[in-house]
Symmetry: none
Subunit: 217 residues, 4 copies
DNA sequence: GATGAATGAGTATTCATTCAT
DNA sequence: AATGAATGAATACTCATTCAT
């Protein structure tokens, strides 16, 4: 019995259907590592185990492949967590820390986070993609954080700081971590690697402490 | 009368001495904007107002031009301010904020900051340059911040947090600002631009508050 | 009915296998005619009936093409004839004449002899090729001639001349003929062309007569 | 007193007047070594101790420089010796050997002999120069040898061989020696160098013996 | 005359894209 | 659908030639 109740395709068939996915995976790796221009489509095809010609069967051009890679891997990590967030029990400060760690585990630590590096690196060459990314990823993320901060301020948990600026104090370290991971990170000796969870945890706690009202004993 | 009392070089001579600088300027702009691979040497030459051949008179290859651009523009903004730092009057918290703002004015806000974006984007293609950048820019900056944090903790001004992690809470927003400025920034509507000084100021104050010992009334 | 009983390859396949050979042929012609530097790869490709890009599919660089041309066309005309030589019936003098004519027919008169001109012309630019040629062509040829001369002397057929010098009296005219054919030859009016077989025949006879012991009546 | 009775120019002046000569010398060396296309005018100028611009003051183009090099160095070695030849005492055989050795000492052994190699190598690229060379060098040389051979035959000293073919038996080894010296020679270990005078001497003697009538005791 | 900085036409080489099989 | 041979536009780099100083 097949526990998922899904039809099991023949191996051959499945592979065929996965072709675009395998190509996108290979392309993600290479685009992140080398950038758009320095990546050769032949290398992408080779890594996906198909011929150059096959790639063009699925993607009409290198640029289209690039756009597909971005659109495919741009997930909505914070938004996905939005539902769970509703059930979160704890202070706003704890929520903020939890959100940042969630973002790291769901996105920052995954291969998909290479997209952020890619977008940053190629933004001026692909402004539409940059705009797309802002709209689909940055804005929703900011909206979520904004809500948390505004509520915390309204509830007297946080001081009435400039929320739009505080937003960036939350997101900058996350984007920084991702950029670092995909650029300088591979060049650093192991001993000097940044430890993401620990950094996020301490950063969140510093921020929360900085945002909190002074304790009135 | 020549007011500067300096010998006036002939037009040809003066231009000759200026060539490398003009080319490096043009190349910085284009490399930052389009990345290494997508920048054509002819375009660099044209922007510097010379022909393709002239560029190769001063730089033996495109890669050498790239390296020269990096080495030329990698300044040591924090280190430069190290002397003045010694005379700073104020708390460690004020010093930290002052340092971050100085860094922005001396480097982040200038064209040279494009180097940081460039390095991050091309790090995996030019690992030697990435290592060079870490050694010449990141490390000295971190050392400076480390000193300040350690002293503040020793003096009982800051809580005994993990200094290596706190370092990144200081530097991440700065590098983030620079990346943003050279990537997403140009794609954003004016209304949504990040205001660097205000962000840095608030971020510094949040951090300092988060690092400070609780007030003992 | 396929008279050869061989599978008939598709047009594309057949052409593919022929490509390297066609390119080498075209390159031989042009390199011999114009030298290495003055030959454009595009011209080679055009003469082989393919595009510039195709050439680089088979040879990674112009220099590699050049080396392949040399290695491909360096045949061992004298050595090839070594087997037949064993069965030769006649005097050493007749053998010498026969060898020289054989060399001409098997090599000197063919397109491949352009290689000798090429090597001589480009020897200082490609010393490895010159060494290769000496080792693969010159040395074996000299060895063969040396053997014949030494045996003839040992058998009292030839006078005891300096064999190493006599070697060159045999080979110089042959190499001269080849050089001439590919350089001055095409510039000469037909009436002044050197007639290779006649020249070789007379030269061989002069040499043999010069080498022979005086007739003892 | 100046023994030559020529005005002694100032050093500066003399150098100026020698400029073309120094350039031609430098160019000869380089053209012979690398061929026409692979020789850079800048290198020629540098070797002559002047700037690239100065070269073009004296020679309107690289091709003109090449032609000047050829015309300047094409001497008439055999013809020059023609006068002395008239006073030669000895047999035709001795004369032939003497002529060949003279040619070597006056031309083959000198730097100017590089011209022969150059002409052979570049003949198809510069047919006018090849024709010029044939007319100015080859033909007169052949004419001289032809005269000697014809006379020797007429006088019953030599057998009535085909003079036009015998010509080449005289000249081929000489041209071969020159080609070798400037191409394969530099690539050969010292132990395998051809010794020109000894080779010429033995070759001449073989030829003369081959040409001579059988001794009638 | 002499210089050497500047030029730009020319060439090797790369690589996205096409298409016959 | 899949292949990979073929293409040719694009681009880094060279070098003979010019010309202002």
């Amino acid at each position: 019995m097949n526990p998922t109740d899904l039809p099991v395709p023949h191996k051959r068939e499945r592979r065929k259907q996965d072709r675009p996915g395998e190509l996108l995976d290979a392309a993600l790796d290479l685009f992140v590592e080398k950038g758009f221009a320095a990546t050769r489509v032949e290398e992408v095809a080779a890594r996906a185990g198909v011929s150059k010609g096959t790639l063009f069967l699925y993607f009409p051009s290198k640029e289209d492949l690039f756009k597909a890679v971005v659109r495919e891997n741009v997930v909505h990590p914070v938004t996905q967590g939005a539902g769970e967030m509703a059930h979160f029990k704890g202070t706003s400060g704890e929520l903020l820390e939890w959100m940042m760690l969630q973002w790291w585990h769901r996105y920052g630590a995954t291969k998909a986070s290479g997209i952020s590096k890619l977008i940053m690196s190629e933004a001026t060459n692909f402004p539409e993609l940059a705009a797309f990314y802002r709209q689909e990823v940055i804005e929703p993320g900011q909206a979520l954080v904004r809500t948390v901060l505004q509520r915390a301020i309204a509830q007297g948990e946080f001081r009435p700081v400039d929320v739009e600026l505080a937003l960036h104090s939350v997101m900058a370290p996350l984007l920084f971590l991702v950029m670092w991971k995909h650029s300088m990170g591979p060049c650093c000796p192991v001993s000097e690697q940044i430890k993401p969870e620990q950094f996020i945890t301490q950063h969140a706690q510093l921020l929360v402490r900085g945002l909190s009202l002074p304790q009135t004993p």
